[in-house]
């Protein structure tokens, strides 16, 4: 949900609550004021009638409301002596409205010439339901007006105010830790955004430093390991080359050399894996997978022939992807090599290349591989094998980096399906 929408929703909810409470209070306050004013009017009218009754005795005969709005009738002294003024809401038939209309009535007593009279004065009252309806209408208009204002304000004002924020978001979306690019923050007078800009810039700077030092570490690790490896291999080879060793000694030396070679491969593979995971392969290009696979199969042909394994390629569709060429080569080399190594003499490999999809099927062991461990580092089905156990882990790392998926299934053949993007 967008910031604008969420603020609008909260404002609207708050307004509904606020206006409801305010409307209730306002309604009763208003009503109270109206009664006050009406009652004052009635009281005033009462004074006037009583004064008139003092010198005009016909007034005392005015027992019906009719047009004048009051009535007087004589009551017993017992009923009149302890009477206080009473205001009540009641209704009375009104000719103009042809209906009973609400009226406010004051009932009071007065004494004239020793007799007690009851005086009732009425005045027309506001119609409460009309008042409520009118008030509701006004408030609804007010409410919609306010909501509209909020939406417009959000749209134009907030849009302007939050501009530095969205600018930063855009920059962050494009930002790559490994690239040379820096983010440019827009200058702003708003303190929060200025702080945000400063902090994010500082954070990215620190991350870049950490990233670079990690990259440096990988390179240093390579340097530190590869040079001693190089020296050891070269010295042992030089020793073997002197030619005065017997077969047993040469065998020992050969075995030591083999393990150093293995360590070299392991070291290179681990470094490659780190580089892939650190996304250090940025230069992408359009790679023709059909052509690449054909080339790789050609490279493996001597080896395949030696093991009497046939490799067939079916081009179901042209397959072109945007990827770093070195990584694409490693990806498919490992895929083909895996199919070749975990095969048996006289076996076969079938590679089908479709649009953004490559399927490699190969003969091999009669049991399916453990899919949970297949792509784990150093997983080897046969622990004594000289392979590094990193080939498929590298494959997976390259696939993950590009959002490709690799699936393994066993149908009597070992099937690896790689879905490219």
């Amino acid at each position: 949900m967008k910031l604008q929408n969420i603020t609008t929703a909260w404002f609207v909810a708050a307004l509904v609550l606020l206006i409801s409470v305010w409307a209730t209070i306002f309604y009763f306050a208003l009503l109270n004021e109206i009664y006050d004013s009406i009652d004052d009017g009635l009281d005033n009218q009462k004074q006037l009638i009583i004064q008139r009754a003092a010198f005009d005795s016909t007034v005392l005969q005015h027992s019906e409301f009719r047009e004048s709005g009051y009535s007087i009738k004589q009551v017993s002294p017992a009923a009149g002596i302890n009477f206080t003024d009473r205001y009540v809401d009641t209704s009375l038939y009104m000719q103009n409205e042809d209906d009973n209309e609400p009226v406010r009535m004051l009932t009071t007593m007065f004494r004239q010439n020793g007799a007690y009279y009851q005086l009732q004065v009425i005045t027309s009252m506001v119609e409460e339901d009309d008042l409520v309806a009118q008030l509701l209408y006004s408030l609804l208009w007010l409410f919609f007006g306010l909501v509209l204002s909020i939406i417009l304000l959000n749209k134009f004002l907030l849009g302007r105010i939050w501009k530095p924020f969205y600018h930063l978001l855009q920059q962050l979306k494009k930002y790559q830790l490994d690239a040379q690019s820096n983010i440019n923050t827009a200058p702003t007078r708003i303190e929060e955004f200025r702080l945000l800009n400063e902090n994010i810039t500082a954070l990215l700077h620190r991350n870049k430093l950490a990233y670079n030092s990690q990259k440096q570490f990988i390179e240093n690790a390579a340097h530190e390991l590869q040079t001693p490896l190089a020296i050891s291999i070269n010295k042992l080879e030089s020793l073997a080359d002197r030619g005065h060793m017997n077969e047993e000694e040469l065998q020992l030396l050969g075995s030591a050399l083999d393990h150093l070679e293995r360590m070299t491969r392991l070291n290179r593979s681990l470094l490659l894996l780190s580089r892939i995971e650190n996304k250090q392969f940025n230069d992408t290009e359009t790679v023709d997978i059909n052509g690449l696979v054909r080339q790789l199969v050609e490279d493996f042909s001597d080896q395949a022939q030696f093991s009497n394994i046939t490799i067939a390629i079916t081009d179901e569709a042209p397959c072109v992807v945007h990827i770093n060429r070195g990584l694409a080569t490693i990806l498919f080399t490992n895929l083909i090599k895996n199919a070749l190594v975990h095969n048996h003499a006289g076996g076969s490999i079938h590679i089908r290349i479709g649009d953004k999809k490559v399927v490699v099927e190969n003969t091999g062991d009669d049991t399916p591989l453990d899919t949970t461990l297949l792509f784990a580092r150093f997983y080897k089905k046969n622990p004594s094998a000289a392979s590094t156990g990193l080939g498929l882990a590298i494959l997976k790392a390259i696939a993950d980096l590009h959002g490709y998926t690799i699936q393994y299934s066993y149908t009597g053949l070992h099937v690896f399906t790689i879905q490219l993007k």
Binding site: S232, N234, S238, D241, E261, R265, Q280, D302, K337, S387
Partner: protein, 244 residues
């Protein structure tokens, strides 16, 4: 029966030219440097060394070398900077970067700066000799680079070989194996070095020995059929040595 040597035999010289090639080894690790120097001297090159950036800079500015082996990580500066300096001065001579970093960026940068080749540590000496030979052939010897081994003559550029005057027929890989062993004549070549050089580093390491062995067997057979006076010895568990 005594085999009579071919009349055009020019002896055991690797080059048919008698130029002495001068090589500068720029490498900070002493053991590594000594190993390189020893191995290159065995091949008959004149070798000089530099162990840090400043010493290397002094040497490359003053002297001319046919080939420079350049380590990138040097005390006192980056080897790539040396390379840039060298090219700015318009110095001749091939440069092979020998780096432990094996980083794609360094490789691309180095080659763009004008390096002739890039070799990642660790490497086999056999591979180094093949690379040195290759850049010298391209840049210095002007194609005068045929290899003569008794009665066997190999032309690495036009890719033919003949015994006495009889041409031999090889497939591409067989010729590559022969050439690699010939370049490293009388030197033990590790089976992996050979396999990687000829079939690329994609080769399956696990059974490379059996695989290389089958290729060597074919090659031996052909050499024998033609009466070539060279021998490919198998050194148990390690590799092969071509002797002539």
């Amino acid at each position: 029966m005594v085999k009579i040597p071919a009349t055009d035999k020019t002896g055991l010289e690797i080059y048919s030219s008698n130029l002495v090639m001068k090589i500068l080894v720029i490498e900070d690790e002493q053991d590594m440097r000594n190993g390189l120097v020893q191995s290159l001297q065995q091949e008959g090159y004149t070798v000089e060394t530099a162990s840090n950036f400043d010493a290397a800079l002094d040497k490359i500015m003053v002297y001319e070398y046919d080939c420079i082996l350049l380590d990138i990580g040097l005390p006192g500066g980056n080897g790539l900077e040396l390379l840039a300096q060298l090219k700015r001065e318009g110095k001749d001579g091939s440069v092979i970067i020998v780096s432990a970093k094996d980083s794609l960026e360094d490789k691309i940068t180095g080659l763009n700066l004008g390096a002739d080749d890039y070799l990642a540590k660790p490497f086999h000496m056999a591979e180094l000799h093949a690379r040195v030979r290759s850049v010298l052939r391209r840049n210095t010897l002007n194609g005068n680079s045929q290899i003569t081994l008794n009665n066997l003559l190999i032309d690495p550029i036009d890719r033919w070989a003949r015994v006495d005057e009889t041409p031999m027929i090889f497939n591409r890989k067989e010729f590559d194996v022969l050439l690699y062993l010939a370049i490293n004549k009388n030197r033990l070549v590790h089976k992996n070095a050979l396999a990687e050089h000829v079939w690329g580093d994609r080769i399956d390491e696990a059974n490379s020995f059996d695989f290389v062995y089958s290729q060597i067997k074919n090659l031996r057979k052909k050499l024998k059929e033609h009466g070539a006076e060279v021998e490919i010895q198998a050194v148990y568990g390690i590799g092969y040595k071509l002797t002539a």
